[in-house]
């Protein structure tokens, strides 16, 4: 019991630390810096502590101080309760969803079974969908409660877009479910031990469609119509400032991480290195004793997983800074007329091939 508690707390702390402490601030920096280098600029590098700028990393700290001291503005005529609640509603699902994503295999440590996932839910995938569908309310309520026409348009766009893409996203991964026959993300991960059974080889079309839907669900370019700054100012968070604004942003960044985690788990072999099974890792680290081998193998798993995650984060950032934005009706058309039929075709083909 105690060991279970310690294990759970350790895992929760690790994932929280990784998300809130590492990814959220660092991604803000990455987004600036990567886009800058990509566009022949230098990027933010002015914030310094005793003259050290650490290539602009202190900007995350400076930003944190700035937003904490900023005025928390609520426009007149706004619904105060929902205006305050909206950022939380959009942030919480982004944090919670990571708890079903496995970041390593199952090992025995000091006679205790350690499973490197916070909560090994039977309906892991559905859990992710459930919470990502709740994130819609953040955008919708934020847009509605601001008492601003641009925000309202942004909120309407957000609700329609996120709802549609949720449906499409659900269909895109049905192929994966058919291949692996489980909703449990750990099981899906275990089954990808064989390099040739990685999701990307089994479901190439499913991967592309899922990534598209996931980016659209996260409302990032090229699907950022709910916040299209050149059309509707900033969409649903036009009237937000200070910490609440940052919560929307953090929600967005954490969702990038979550999307990358899901993509890694479903399509890119989860925590596995190509051609190397967990058993091989254990036997390779045999020299460190059985516990030491477990720890080392765990570390390799975690490192592999997060390197893959970082790769997908980088990819999403590149997409965001490369492409122009869709128009609202085109976003919907893409969803209902392209992704939905394609995912149905994908399901059909998968059925033909795998179920026979």
């Amino acid at each position: 019991m105690l060991a279970d508690m310690i294990e759970s707390i350790a895992k929760i702390l690790f994932i929280f630390g990784m998300n809130i402490g590492f990814f959220a601030p660092v991604l803000g920096w990455v987004e600036r810096k990567q886009s800058a280098v990509m566009q022949d600029r230098i990027g933010a590098n002015r914030a310094d502590i005793f003259g050290f700028t650490v290539i602009g990393l202190f900007h995350s700290i400076a930003d944190a101080i700035k937003v904490l001291t900023k005025e928390d503005f609520i426009p007149t005529g706004a619904n105060k309760f929902f205006h305050t609640a909206a950022p939380f509603i959009s942030l919480v699902p982004a944090i919670v969803t990571f708890c079903v994503i496995p970041f390593g295999g199952r090992y025995t440590l000091f006679g205790h079974d350690v499973n490197l996932v916070i909560s090994d839910l039977d309906v892991g995938l559905l859990f992710i969908f459930a919470f990502s569908s709740l994130a819609t309310y953040g955008a919708v309520l934020g847009g509605w409660s601001s008492n601003n026409n641009w925000s309202l348009i942004g909120g309407l766009r957000a609700s329609a877009q996120m709802l549609s893409y949720e449906v499409a996203m659900g269909l895109t991964i049905i192929g994966v479910l058919m291949v692996y026959g489980s909703l449990k993300l750990t099981e899906i991960g275990v089954m990808q031990e064989n390099f040739f059974r990685w999701g990307i080889f089994m479901q190439p079309l499913g991967f592309v469609l899922f990534l598209t839907c996931a980016i659209a669900e996260n409302k990032r370019a090229p699907f950022d119509v709910p916040e299209a700054e050149s059309e509707i100012v900033a969409g649903y968070f036009t009237e937000y400032s200070g910490m609440k604004f940052v919560m929307f942003w953090m929600g967005e960044f954490l969702e990038i991480v979550t999307i990358s985690g899901i993509v890694t788990t479903l399509f890119f072999g989860a925590w596995h290195l190509p051609f190397i099974t967990d058993q091989m890792l254990l036997s390779f680290f045999q020299f460190a004793g059985s516990n030491g081998a477990s720890i080392l193998a765990m570390l390799v798993n975690i490192a592999t997983f997060f390197i893959k995650v970082i790769f997908f984060i980088w990819m999403q950032m590149t997409i965001r800074w490369t492409l122009p934005r869709f128009r609202y009706d085109q976003v919907m058309k893409l969803c209902w007329k392209m992704i939905l039929p394609l995912s149905l075709i994908n399901i059909f083909i998968t059925g033909l091939v795998f179920l026979r």
Partner: protein, 181 residues
Amino acid sequence: MQLLIFYILAFGAVISALLMVTSKKPVSSAMSLIATMVFLAGLYVLLDAHLIAALQLIVYAGAIMVLFLFVIMLLNVDEKEGRMAGNTILLQFGAILAIGLVFIMMVSLVKSGGTLLVFGEGADQFGTTKAVGKLLFTEYLLPFEIASVLLLAAIVGAVILAKRRIDDPDQKERIIPGHKG
């Protein structure tokens, strides 16, 4: 521990359901309903019905209620509009119905021996995706298919209702074609 969580969830569900009925603003009502759904999902989790909980969140809280909110926001429903506050006959009818429902529930509870919750023992498979799926496609296949046909009919109906009539002159005016059409 489980009982405590149950009470918290149940209390939340009741309170938010009451808020839904009593609140004056349509959006608040809708949000309270969503909260109710979330609490109910929590209750399902307590009952080991993870699948149902997830589906509750996805379908009801995530999808249907977003549409409700969407419509409320679009139509910008006035606070007083559509309220039945003045209609005493309907109000009385509703009150009688509610009281009757509560009465029936009490009776059935008393008859069942007064136990509120039975935590599953020997029901490992209960509520898992596999079990539900198996039940759905064997024992309850006919109701399942009937339900899907019903939904299909509803979809077709919705499409027909919402379809833009091409010959409608009002609608045609809205699109000004370029000289190439």
